[in-house]
Point group: C2
Amino acid sequence: MADDPLSRIFGALADPTRRDMVARLAAGDATVGDLADPYDVSVQAVSKHIKVLADAGLVSQSKDAQRRPCHLEADVFDLVTVWIERYRHQAEQRYDRLDAVLAEMRGEERPTDRHLEQGAAS
Amino acid sequence: MADDPLSRIFGALADPTRRDMVARLAAGDATVGDLADPYDVSVQAVSKHIKVLADAGLVSQSKDAQRRPCHLEADVFDLVTVWIERYRHQAEQRYDRLDAVLAEMRGEERPTDRHLEQGAAS
DNA sequence: CTTCTCCTCAACCGTTCAGTTGAGTAAGGA
DNA sequence: TCCTTACTCAACTGAACGGTTGAGGAGAAG
């Protein structure tokens, strides 16, 4: 895994177990044991997953006696959305421009009326 | 790598070379050779990267003689943003509620009647 | 002090991944 | 026809991943 922030974040979220942990942490903080409970793997494996999420900045851990409560750092999601929106908008603009070109080729000299219909992705 | 759509997408975007390809495809379609040009790896390696992006649904390929122009399927990004926004908003709501609780503890007796239900899913 | 709980570290194992080289296919150009 | 271009498939290699077990530290509880 590359060591830049986005690679860490995307890599962390590429695992369904880790995504499920994020989902549960969005509902509230939880200890390592709490998080491990529903899964059919060892606590050590869950501890490793948390380390991956923490290295990506998605999760922080504090201390409460022997317990290590985990907290979701939702701000990190911004890095992802900013990256995605940038290229999505770029692609949309290009699509609009293609529409305009096609309209011109069809001989329609009218000002471009934009009709962008998007279906849901599969 | 798990074979569910989100895992494929996140996994595909976890590699900086593949993210760079997506960035360049957002500016316009490109053939495999075009995409491979700037990188210091073999064309076969780039072909594999494109296959990963295509399996995630992020890229589609068409035919033009020997060439295989690649096209960015930006709609797939919606799956990611929907997933992220869901948990970001959940975390924000929780944060707002915490604010309310703290305000109450400080003696500000505004009646708070907003409950937050928890429902985590994968 | 002893024991138990909660968690992490270290070593190992099998699988997947990102890269390589070599061969092969499909199409255009000489 | 032969040659070149554009790309993919197959096999291999080293590194990283996700899991395991075992050991051990830190802190509460007895």
